[in-house]
Amino acid sequence: MEDTLHKIVTPARLIRVTLVFSAGFLLVAILAVMVGPSEITPLELLKALLQGRPEGEAAADPGRTILFSIRIPRVLFAGIVGAALATAGVVFQALLRNPLADPFVLGVSGGASVGAIAGILLGAAALPFGTPLLAFAGALAAAFLVFGTARRSTTLSSNTLLLAGVIVNAFTSAVVMFLLSVSTRGEVHNALFWLMGDLGLASGRDIGLAALILLAAFVLIYAHGRALNLFVIGEDTALRLGVSVESTKKVLLAAASVLTAVTVSLCGIIGFVGLIIPHMMRMVLGSDHRLLLPASLLFGGAFLVVADAFSRTLMAPAELPVGVITALCGAPYFVYLLRRSAP
């Protein structure tokens, strides 16, 4: 076993992989901060970072203001959202034993969007966390609906799963459209953009909240890393190896739904990140979730940072919804996976 021991997840390998992926994320983030309508050169960036956030007179410096109040928060937020979606994707794929699962495909994002829009229209945004909480309720309802449908058959076929997701998506988008068409409020104006993902809406407070929730959910999920490996083998096997399957499943489902709900309530529906990233990481690193989770977290973040950079620059000065970019990459990848997994 010594000769193949390096393929097993050890603390040393975990640290190595995490460092490499962190470095990659940092590099991508630095590049993304520099691109935009007004280019920032590496030298300017370095200088600005050393000087820190502009205050007083320095606030007049447009370069530094753009950097600190627009670019850096935006890149950070894209990273957090990408990381959250990829992590949620890893969990959904393991629990459903299906590489085609992802928050968007399963309709969990759709459920969250109903909650979020209802929240905005009902004025729940005035309450602390009103909209995210409603989005969470919607996401949870959709997740349990899909899992409930899927439970009927012991070996879950991709067909059943995707069909359940399609139905939930059709239903939730109908509800969203209904809510939009009966409302007269001003917020709805942005809704169309929001439906395809808009990373420019979040405030500094929102970003902080998202980061906190991502951290908490990730720690919770990572604590079940070994259990996730066993779920992939089968729920019976997980039970027989000492996992309390039903309670663990609920905890993980709730954590992945929270991650989905937070992203949807803050920036709308961004599809396919949770589908592509876990699959790619599995091809590179193997199936052990103790490695897969941190790698997907960081790579998912980097992926959405890049996608967002493209969405800001491709049609500049106009901005594309970032969901357009991820769907353009993700949908073909989905078809490729579907064809490969077909018998």
């Binding site: 079940h224 066993l230 992939v232 027989r240 190896l241 000492g242 309390s244 199936s287 052990d288």
Partner: protein, 277 residues
């Protein structure tokens, strides 16, 4: 000494119909019990009650003298390991990853496998002849190889009781014999208590020291193979006509199926009753 497994008037049903009815059974420590019975007689349900996947509706299951209902999942998994029927693998785990999963009930949530766990896993793979496959993806193996990997995983659990659920149903005769010889060896050398559900009466007769016959959710005979496997009992339990003679080397009972004589049209057989023999 308390028996390894003791079932006391265990009954179980999923919805309405009882799958098991007041089953009482004992397996001594280091015993090797084969459970035989037709499809739907409750064999797999019986195993699932022992490994705690299901809980009895009535009656109690004792493992080494302790009520299984009072043991937590980790403790159960340290005592009982199951070699399940082969099932497809969706994500590409390697053989050594699968075997190391057997260490789960011995490890805390945050602990990684240590040197001792690697040694136990290596020993389990050596024992089952799967060490050369260690780095291969499970999905690339043959049915016989996968079955041996699943035993290796069960051994890595360091259980005292090993349950086998029709482990050889997809294997050819060479791998069937190899599988049972391995299990018998583990039973003898490590004192592992073995309970095997099987469809193969001859294999069970050859390897198991005791046999239980299950019919319609009830045990209708338990004892040494030579006392249990008879032409009458097989006809009664399986509704199949067989001749029973002795295995030329071991003297254990050996069955030979004889051809069904289809009864006349409209007879009891066509209406679902057992064939007239």
């Amino acid at each position: 000494m308390t028996p390894a497994i003791r079932l006391e008037f265990v009954s179980f049903r999923y919805d309405q119909a009882w799958v098991l009815r007041e089953v009482s059974l004992e397996v001594e420590r280091g015993g090797f019990l084969g459970i035989l019975g037709p499809n739907g007689s409750g064999k797999t349900t019986l195993l699932n009650l022992v490994d705690g996947i299901l809980s009895p509706r009535e009656g109690r299951v004792f493992l080494e003298g302790e009520d299984a209902a009072t043991l937590d999942r980790d403790e159960l998994a340290r005592r009982v390991a199951v070699v399940p029927q082969d099932s497809p693998l969706i994500f590409p785990f390697t053989v050594q990853e699968i075997v190391l999963m057997g260490r789960t009930p011995h490890l805390g949530r945050w602990r990684f496998e240590g040197q001792r766990d690697f040694e136990i896993a290596r020993d389990a793979m050596k024992r089952t002849g799967t060490l050369p496959l260690a780095g291969r993806p499970m999905s690339e193996l043959s049915g016989g190889e996968r079955q041996r990997v699943l035993i290796a995983r069960a051994l890595a659990q360091e259980p005292r009781i090993l349950l086998l659920d029709e482990p050889t149903s997809n294997l050819d005769i060479h791998h069937q014999l190899a599988f049972f010889s391995l299990v018998e060896d583990l039973n003898r050398t490590r004192g592992l208590t073995v309970v095997a559900v099987s469809h193969d009466i001859n294999l069970a007769s050859l390897y198991c020291r005791r046999i239980a016959l299950l019919k319609d959710g009830a045990v209708c005979g338990e004892g040494r193979p030579e006392d249990i496997i008879t032409e009458e009992s097989i006809r009664d339990v399986f509704g199949a006509p067989v001749r029973v003679d002795r295995h030329p080397e071991t003297g254990r009972p050996r069955i030979t199926p004889i051809r069904h004589h289809l009864p006349e049209r409209g007879s009891r057989w066509e209406t679902g009753a057992a064939p007239q023999l």
